[in-house]
Amino acid sequence: MASSTYEPKNRFIKAVNQQLPILSLIHGAVGAGYRAPKNLNYWWNFGSLAGVCLVVQIITGIVLAMHYTPHTSLAFASVEHIMRDVNYGWLLRYIHANGASMFFIVVYVHIFRGLFFGSYRNPREVLWFLGVIIYLLMMATGFMGYVLPWGQMSFWGATVITNLFSAIPVVGDSIVAWLWGGFSVDNPTLNRFFSLHYLLPFVIVGVVILHIWALHIPGSNNPLGIDVKGPQDQVPFHPYYTAKDAFGIGVFLLLFAFFVFYAPNYLGHPDNYTEANPMVTPPHIVPEWYYLPFYAILRAIPDKLGGVIAMFSAILILFAMPWLDGSPARSARFRPIYRMLLWVFVADTFLLGYVGAHAPDYIVHIGGVEIPCLILGQAATAFYFLFFLVIVPVVSRWETPLPLPKSINEAVLKKSAAKA
């Protein structure tokens, strides 16, 4: 992180900071020493919100782990013990369970922000890659966390997802047995998932630090997608963006608290309040909402191995974005055709989520036409990959962007003049 101009006035603090410049580090990272573009809009709040989510999950998770028992015969009961007998245990658990959903909402918006404003483009490719890695780690962590209460959906979700690896030719079955630690999802599986669910958040913290480090080298992108030309284009992070982030955190916590206190089980599945039973398969096994689009892609391909490859490709393709996009402009704001198609892509992911929540033979009525979810899912999957593999590379190179403003400062002054 850039060398800081931090000058403590207190002699003692100055002496400590000289030997361990941790205050300079903070000052340079999120203090007045870090200068950010002055035109960042509210889409830029979601980075700090994701940080808040991570901290909330780690703190509530550590306390929950003090009361939870990772054993197939005790896990479900220990969660109910937390809900009933631990002081404010219900609050901790509902924060943690809904916190996972909130974290994914925030991260999905954060990823969308990156896609819309071209934050993955040079010189921020590494920053983007680190972000995708964080997302992958979050998915693994969230999946394993969902298994821990050992409800019906925990058990059967774990069975379905781990079984995906059996599609790998030759070594598939061995890999699945290795993941399970046996011949079915059982106590060894629960134990290792608990262990990894505790470990991975700290790995995420590590990658987040790298992510922020990589952010501070080029500095933040901005809604115009043009480079910062000088200090007139920027403001110090503190107090400008600390104040803006604090307001954003307030709004976000209102939404978060609404779910925790008034709809704590809305985002979960009722089947997870029935203890896991390997002898009884639930009629519909559905993952948590944040995996639904990928679940739809998995089921859209009739071949098991093909489905697994498509599902993982759907995420991994994000790594290719810096090369797929060849537009002279970063921000979609100056690319009307691309922007429109990007919104269609967003709608497509919601459609995939809808399809993922329903059985493949579920019939959707669209204007009097009956379409099975499977067909809808296949069409949406086709568009998902069409977007990345054809639309982005072709449209970005073919579309001439609108004229870009000369500088951030000029655009900001023009905007405030127009308002006045």
Partner: protein, 259 residues
């Protein structure tokens, strides 16, 4: 065009979210009861919960357990310490081993969980024609619709329509998934006499026990909503303050000053 696409996107987003609720019932539509605990300020009706407990004890407990509930928890629904001791003492609970190494039976204590009717699943199935009456502690959270589902199920028994093939010993109930349920219609008018004198119609009995099961599933509901209100109030003030702080901080930049 941009607006249109955005609107479609938002509409799809909401429909995707709403679809979780739409999966609700596999069977027929549920009766929507105006529960006392509905809404942001809704709380349990303690008298109703006590009636519901009476229904559980006199009807449901013949086959179903509520294994997550201890006698001491009944203090939450308005039973006094002495009443709880007396209720607990009516049950026999296995304890031990004693100094001779033997298990023995003793009267229940407030700290004991309410004993279920059967020692294990095999015994339960043997006594119920092969069917397993599930534990009811969490039932109000384990089904789409929750207490509405329980109430609809209990009052949803009908004669099977013509041509419907009912399995042996099964009963027709369109609310239940598959419409066949092993449980015989458990509730009827005036099957019990309420201690508080409330007329014991089948509908009333069903509502009371459904509310009771909401309490067994979510005993923290009242604490949650009352804390929730205070948290929301705090957050609204916090957010409004930061809105104005943010505005004030940015004022010079919005005026075009360099900082």
């Amino acid at each position: 065009m941009k607006k249109l696409i955005k609107t479609i996107g938002v509409a799809l987003a909401f429909s995707a979210f709403a679809s979780f609720g739409a999966q609700a019932s596999e069977g027929g539509a549920l009766k929507q009861v105006d529960w006392s605990f509905n809404g942001a300020f809704g709380q349990f009706d303690k008298a109703q919960l006590r009636r519901g407990f009476q229904v559980y004890r006199e009807v449901c407990s013949a086959c179903h357990s509520v294994r997550l509930i201890a006698f001491r928890n009944l203090a939450d629904i308005g039973f006094s310490e002495d009443e709880i001791k007396a209720i607990a003492a009516e049950y026999e609970v296995q304890d031990g081993p004693n100094d001779d190494g033997d298990m023995f039976m003793r009267p229940g204590r407030p700290s004991d969980r309410i004993p279920g009717p059967f020692a294990n699943e095999k015994q339960a199935r043997a006594a119920n024609n092969g069917a397993y009456p599930p534990d009811l502690s969490l039932m109000a959270k384990a089904r789409f619709g929750g207490p509405d589902y329980i109430h609809s199920l209990l009052t949803g028994y009908e004669d099977a329509p013509e041509g419907f093939e009912l399995g042996e010993g099964m009963n027709y109930n369109p609310v239940f998934a598959g419409a066949q349920i092993a449980m015989v219609a458990p509730i009827s008018d005036d099957m019990l006499e309420y201690a508080d004198g409330t007329p014991a119609t089948a509908d009333q009995i069903s509502r009371d026990v459904s509310a009771f099961l909401m309490w067994t599933a979510e005993p923290s509901l009242e604490a949650r909503k009352s804390l929730g209100f205070r948290v929301m109030l705090f957050l609204v003030i916090f957010t409004v303050l930061f809105y104005f702080i943010n505005k004030k901080v940015w004022k010079p930049v919005k005026r075009g000053e360099q900082v």
